[in-house]
Symmetry: C2
Subunit: 105 residues, 2 copies
């Protein structure tokens, strides 16, 4: 689903990752984190897609909301498991969305 975000400006966290071959609980944790993120204050939406490369873009009102989500206890635990088991490599980019446009048939 394309996230229904408000008028810019708002923040985007672009999380790009390459998985290891270890599956062990990844899907369940990923679903849990998506749900948990959506309950955080300042959460605006999320978009996710994966094949060889996995890209998840989450949208947030401000940097405090991003920091709070980063430090949320269960998320911190999930991030540690991610580094230990699930991710070969990842990159996180924090960006301010300045403008957007859309198209729908």
């Amino acid at each position: 689903m394309i996230a229904k975000t408000p008028q810019p400006p708002y923040y985007a966290v672009i999380f790009t990752s390459v998985r290891t071959s270890i599956d062990d609980g990844y899907a369940a944790m990923s679903n849990r984190m998506m749900k948990l993120a959506s309950e955080q204050e300042g959460f605006l939406g999320v978009e996710s897609s994966c094949n060889d490369l996995s890209i998840t873009v989450s949208y947030w009102t401000d940097l405090d909301a991003i920091k709070n989500w980063r430090e949320q206890v269960d998320h911190t635990f999930a991030r540690r498991l991610g580094r230990e088991k699930w991710y070969q490599a990842f990159k996180t980019r924090i960006a301010i969305v300045e403008r957007d446009s859309q198209f729908e048939k």
Copy 2:
């Protein structure tokens, strides 16, 4: 592949799309546009992933580079075909990447 981008700040164009069921030349055009984008001045990298939702994030030095790529003749033609044939819906967000971090095993 995770794009090897320089130190922030730089720009990200987050292009999220939902495809129609029409395939007709999509993959070839997509590959051609990836190659062409990478030859543009100011291009820094691109990341792409698709299943139900397709996310492509391209990285650029500045807004002029993004504008030039948007107006590049072949790209303009491809964008028109995209609206006519390939995309049910899409959203484009232009953002300034302020910080990043990475992990590699």
